[in-house]
Symmetry: C2
Subunit: 546 residues, 2 copies
Amino acid sequence: MEKSALQICRSAYSPKLPKGLRGGVSIKEGEPTQSVGNQEEIKALFPNTYGMPLVEFVPGDSKEKAEPINMGVILSGGQAPGGHNVICGLFDELKRINPASRLYGFLMGPGGLVDHKYIEITSEIVDEYRNTGGFDMIGSGRTKLEEKEQFEKGLLIIRELGINAIVIIGGDDSNTNACVLAEYYAAHNYGVQVIGCPKTIDGDLKNDQIETSFGFDTACKTYAEVIGNIQRDANSARKYWHFIKLMGRSASHIALECALQCQPNICIVSEEVEAKNMTLDDIVTYISDIVAKRAANGNNFGTVLIPEGLIEFIPAMKHLIAELNDLLATAEAAEHEGAAQRAWILSKLSAENAAIYESLPEGVAHQLTMERDPHGNVQVSLIETEKLLSEMVAVKLATWAQEGKFAGKFAAQHHFFGYEGRCAAPSNYDADYCYALGTSAAELVANGKTGYMAIVKNTTAPAEEWIAGGVPITMMMNMERRHGKMKPVIRKALVDLEGAPFKTFAAHREAWAEQTAFVYPGPIQYWGPAEVCDRCTMTLALEQAK
Amino acid sequence: MEKSALQICRSAYSPKLPKGLRGGVSIKEGEPTQSVGNQEEIKALFPNTYGMPLVEFVPGDSKEKAEPINMGVILSGGQAPGGHNVICGLFDELKRINPASRLYGFLMGPGGLVDHKYIEITSEIVDEYRNTGGFDMIGSGRTKLEEKEQFEKGLLIIRELGINAIVIIGGDDSNTNACVLAEYYAAHNYGVQVIGCPKTIDGDLKNDQIETSFGFDTACKTYAEVIGNIQRDANSARKYWHFIKLMGRSASHIALECALQCQPNICIVSEEVEAKNMTLDDIVTYISDIVAKRAANGNNFGTVLIPEGLIEFIPAMKHLIAELNDLLATAEAAEHEGAAQRAWILSKLSAENAAIYESLPEGVAHQLTMERDPHGNVQVSLIETEKLLSEMVAVKLATWAQEGKFAGKFAAQHHFFGYEGRCAAPSNYDADYCYALGTSAAELVANGKTGYMAIVKNTTAPAEEWIAGGVPITMMMNMERRHGKMKPVIRKALVDLEGAPFKTFAAHREAWAEQTAFVYPGPIQYWGPAEVCDRCTMTLALEQAK
């Protein structure tokens, strides 16, 4: 692997560890825990892994004579900056506990366990990947570990390699599945522990126990860098409105964090759109109003941040999509193609949905009916929301211009940022946080725990004051309907409209809309003043300041 | 202006100056010069500014008793990182020469001079913008200074403010116009000097005298950062081909530099496409071949870099567009709209062009005929080349799959990077280079020069060894046909297929195509090891190493 100058120099960085994880480690156990909801059901489903205590690691005796541990590690789902450092933390701690310990990496995600694809992770490999972005050390994948057959197939390779524990690095679903696997292996007395690690750039895996998921920090800073650059361009050229869609699945955490960092003119928050039962036209009107107000002040430019999940949070769009899914599944649908299809659809839709369908730009309407997933459903993720909104704003402003209500100019540029940030080299925060998570996960295993997620708290303080430990995964669970069935799952954290990050944004957005209050965060720095290199996200700082 | 932590800390950076510009400055003049072509015509057009010597600044006596200088500065054309530092260099040197000197900034580009829109640039303003990206200090614009009426209108405000000299910061056209203005003011004995500065992220303003235009370094590094991140994602998820279009107008310098930094699987170079008379199908086949080869090795992922000017370098596309422009200008064209238009166009085009038109994805063909500029011409820049190519590759691979020649998977993601880099905070290279250019420009004025461009050479060496000076703009000129007329212009530098950057790329591209040799440059660093923070572009290093 040919390395860039940055990568070579950055590999020498030593992640800062919490006091409790430097050298000898002792475990401090709390009281038994309860799940956040549906206690009876969760307890019944997880008899072996329910009610366990929270644990915390504190400085303790050296465990030089501990037994070696063989461990398997799995990266699950979308990439997030810092994944390699979790593995480095695991590796270093296992070797510290006993140099004869071994770490295996299952390849291309959970499927690697089932299909027995793995490598042994050696010190040479680990040293190649310290403080790097990406999941390319062992790859990732989206296979869901849910079935007993998978668990049993996995067990064969676990036995063959003499593995004591599996660490699954993933999002809410992957960690739910890690707990199911932990329960299964415990129920069968297989003697295999399972530990989870909270990963996702989307920021939606957090709760009273988990301050943040790793990767959110680096990804947001990378997006904020380019958004800031675009804003500076907008403010220099003064002729474009930039519509910027941001990854983040259902949750708007990324868009909100970028808004807090960059102070754009507009940021749409899906959770608010749903709570206020806003229509697509409401959103378009909201944007158009701000465009018109700025134009009245001579500012024919600006920025709009849009969370990728927006469409599905607009109740009226949800209804339209549901009706379209049903309609297009009928035998009659196949008889109407091309231009004739549009007329047929309009004749069949309910009046309300027909009106919305008709209001959509033709290209988008076409996309809604053409591109369907293997189940025949409309593929909402393919809709270029950034273009949809800017086109509809242009139409509305043209009407307003005719009515004498808008005398400015409106020209748009479009951007979608996602892949740009998922594999960035981790910020100091993520490099440190992930290394501590990995170290913590190794210690949870060394202390005989299973069904836990590794956690690190107090991360707005300097790293040495961080508190590492573990939380029983069942503690974060409740029952939710998924695909028509009630299932035990970790509660997904959408943006809390009563939380400090949203409230801070809401308190400033009017000023940011009319004024040009852009902030330019610049690229992530790995060397230099601590106030530049070591700051956490504004979301985290605001949440923890409460 | 609310500032980010990075911006606050970075403002304290002191750009490194060449030895010749630290403190007292003496001027060293060379022999008379000739234009690079059409000497007689250029000499006749520029009788007052032709044949002047190259000049170089060397350490010299302090000029504490020099007269104050009043200067106007103009930012012209697209944003480029470092523009503010040129102004800072101008300001500091003017004040060093005599604290009573004044600097005026004309607003929103050359139009500010004509329309008398300006501000006085004070030390408070300069200090707000040190080492920042963007042109927002005074704005930029695309008004061309070409007409005598403009020159005379400008003179009114020049006289009113007692301005001795104008500095125009711009690309090849703006510097050509700066020379025309210098000649005009000289010919009329107005006593107003005009100096140019080489700006453009596109990298196409360079020659024997100009090593690089400012902004190219920072913009390329910003694009390389996100391309590297995308490549790491591609190599982790192993399921997408990323088609990445890059700004750069006609020239492919940006794409080539990013290729040298990131080692993608494919980089198209427009200049090579033209030289080899490649068709669109040739390019699609070239890409498809590599996709198929990688798929045969189990690698259903990769990256393709595409320069934004590509379409106009494909001779066959040029012919098609020319015929379309003529065809759509006919009265008959208006009679055919929507689906009928396509059939009509196909019936009218020459057989050769009809075949190409028919081979285009429908969306692109539609775009070619729908979106036209105010002159009725096809707007090539609106064509999403990255999607055009990936759609055509998908079609070809589907055919190959039927023929048993392709058994892999092909899924694409699309990106276009431009606005992300034009206003990034300047790298150390650009911060230093621009500050030296500004200082140099001030010294050219102080030494009575006009019709010169400020230059800094030897910039692959440490900054103190850089050589600052000036080059007569006429020296870089030749006659070229523009809009049907022969005009004196600075030769635009496209990618030289015999130059070291292209040859280095060409020598490695086969290996990069089949292997996964991605390099991940990471974000620009402002603090840290010199090998990370102070390196120049690979293009420059390779060109200067010859």
